[in-house]
Amino acid sequence: MNVEKITPFQFGCMCFAFMSGFSTLYLLEAKLIMHDVWIAIIAATIATLFLVQLLVYIQRQFADMNLSDIIITVFGNWVGKLVLCLYLLGMTGLGVLSLRSISLFYTTAILPNTSPGLIMAIVLLVTTYAAYLGLSSISRAALVILPFFAVAMLVISVFIFDDVESNPFMPQFQNALPLIVYSSMISFGFPFGKTSVFAFVFSEITNQKKLVKSCTTAAIFSCVYLLMSTYLAIGCLGEYMFKTAAFPFFSSIQLVKFGENIERIEIMIIGIWTILTLFEIIIVQYCFVKIVGRIFGAKNLSSLYLPVGAIFFAVSMKSFDNPAKLVAYDVKILPFSIILPSIILPLILGCILWVKKSRKNQMDIQNS
């Protein structure tokens, strides 16, 4: 399949859409440490920025090679494929998490009588087709939707801010360090740890020199969006209502009304929110197909999109069939399971490449 390359700006927008999809849906780290949540979010962002540097360093060693190819080149054929399988496992988790979250949100807040399976099937049809269209189409769609998202969120935020009574991030530093670290891990697990997924499309960017800038900007904007949403949700709802609400930011958006009678504008936000969540699933599916193609050495990937969509659907139908399991996965499993694909493997890869590069440099010096 002909791979159309995208610009760093398009890539940055896509990264933001990917990271911010439904990052504000549960705000679980905030429910855990409340006023100190800003520390956790900023710590997770800083970790993400380091991760970006590491992933870009790896990519620069093999210009124009995809991360799957790099992994196989560095680790060898079988170990490399095993590592790629680990990434596939992680991506399945992320995709299923997004699908189940979107269906849970819809069946809880909007369509209580509609089957979650139907919602997930409809979502997967859209995402499968979008992934099939390729990165260029996905990034163009992200460019179209992000201005609407930015304007809608800014307007909503101004209106919610009006209801914020006191600084919701006070009092500060009231939680124990281990709890703050754990919250940072939750925040890294979701949404920031997903950064390792878009490393698989680094090779499809036109100007590789601007990779760090694009990713860093996207991560910082995602951090700002998450901080802003958390601040507004706690400030508007109040501490106890925030802990009570299943979807705190959505509950605070529900309170916004223009004038006396224009309310229920949350439905527009839900639309935009849903589209951003679709981007998450689309990119995960796109990268998943690329990795599967690499593992099996398939040259034509277009025939893989539909089966991959079917796999996601089948796994989603069997996973997280109630909200408690979904939240438990987010809080108890994801913060730890994300460490292997997002921290340990890139670190090993980076170390091997650094050692190889150092040896090569030494040999070059000796030869010269």
């Binding site: 409809i122 049809l125 499968t128 209801d163 009574e165 709802l237 106890y240 509950s251 529900q254």
Partner: protein
């Protein structure tokens, strides 16, 4: 390849399935619930659920004709069961998305708010911006009273809630705030009180939204007088006082001055009062002269300053009296001192939080400073013009 494309096209047509969702409701099939009340029957140990509904659509060609209200009650062991039992009498699907008021009967409020609050927040259709009001006596009876103006009862109550900002002696709060305060173990809160009474010159009893109901430890504990409710309006969060405009009749020398007052500032700080840690509250008020019962030369800045000082003292006394009642009689932190201490003095709060409700709050010294400024005196200076005093 063609096969795949065709399959995708076929599957995409499944997106049309969205139209087959069982969540679709035709407008002609629904009735909008405008007001809901919840009572509790102690003898039968049942909740009584009452709704005031409007049909969403009408077949009448005259759309301007006022639609009739339909009021119906049903009972059940739980609120949800009572609400569902109501469906046996309803010819339409009841929709709560437009319901702005939930009236809790005195019996239900005195029993426990927990199930009521939990039901209201858990139910998807109910908006957190709806108001929760406690009725004096059975809410069912209040629901069945006709509106004084002949309008829909729900419209009339909505108007009265809007008018709370213009007199301050009633304070209705939203479900969102009820949940936030209710689950806070260190404080109580005040919400609206709906009662019935014979109006001056009236021939039948009508409903009044006046005073407040104090919720403490999860249930209704006291009714609040109009004066104390006004104090609450001034002393609690900014969202309650920023649009507040209220009337005071301030004694000044031998005459009384009617003032229209606005709150423009409220701050709290922790201070030492008589060797104990206490709360100092500073209130800034802006006033306009509304009436005088005798001659006073308001063009004289000295007189105006004296009047401002008299208003300061008057308001300080009034607010302090209410505060003493909240602390020493009701023993309920309805202002939210605990929230202030928890947010801004966390280390002190850790020491005192265990005994806050029983010992610390009731005996905590408080001080109120009021600063009234009167920048406008109205359209006239003094009746008949100023003369030498």
């Amino acid at each position: 390849m063609k096969m795949i494309k065709r399959s995708i096209a076929l599957l995409l047509s499944m997106a049309m399935l969205a139209g087959c969702s069982s969540d679709i409701r035709e407008i002609s099939d629904i009735a909008l619930v405008m007001l809901t009340s919840i009572d509790y029957n102690e003898k039968k140990q049942e909740y009584i659920f009452t709704v005031n509904c409007l049909e969403a659509s009408t077949n009448s060609s005259d759309s301007s004709e006022r639609k009739s209200e339909w009021i119906a009650s049903a009972s059940g062991k739980s609120i949800f069961e009572a609400a569902r039992n109501l469906r046996s009498r309803a010819g339409k699907i009841l929709v709560w998305q437009h319901d702005k008021f939930f009236l809790i009967g005195e019996s239900a409020a005195r029993r426990s708010f927990y199930e009521v609050v939990d039901f209201l927040t858990r139910t998807r259709e109910i908006r957190l911006s709806s108001f929760l009001i406690v009725g004096e006596g059975p809410a069912l009876e209040l629901m069945r009273m006709r509106a004084e103006t002949g309008d829909l009862v729900s419209n009339e109550i909505l108007g009265r809630i809007k008018n709370e900002q213009l007199w301050g002696k009633s304070l209705s709060i939203t479900i969102k705030d009820v949940v936030n305060y209710y689950t806070n173990p260190y404080r109580g809160f005040v919400t609206g009180k709906l009662s019935k009474s014979m109006p001056i010159g009236g021939t039948r009893e009508v409903i009044f939204l006046s005073g407040g109901s104090v919720i403490k430890e999860g249930k209704l504990s006291n009714w609040l007088t109009k004066e104390d409710t006004l104090s609450i309006h001034i002393l609690v969060d900014k969202k309650y006082w920023r649009h507040l405009e209220f009337a005071e009749y301030v004694p000044y020398k031998s005459l009384n001055v009617g003032l229209r007052l606005h709150v423009n500032k409220r701050s709290m700080k922790l201070v030492h009062i008589n060797g104990k840690q206490g709360i100092d509250i500073h209130i800034g008020l802006t006033g306009t002269i509304a009436s005088l019962d005798n001659h006073l030369n308001l063009a004289d800045p000295v007189k105006l300053r004296e009047l401002e000082n008299a208003a300061n003292r008057y308001m300080e006394r009034k607010l302090k009296k209410s505060l003493n009642r909240f602390q020493q009689v009701m023993k309920t932190d309805i202002i939210g001192f605990s929230d202030y201490l928890r947010h801004y003095h966390p280390y002190l709060w850790r020491k005192i939080s265990a005994h806050w409700v029983t010992e610390v709050y009731p005996s905590m010294p408080t001080r109120v400073h009021v600063d009234v400024s009167i920048p406008t005196i109205g359209m006239s200076e003094v009746l008949g013009g100023s003369k030498d005093d």
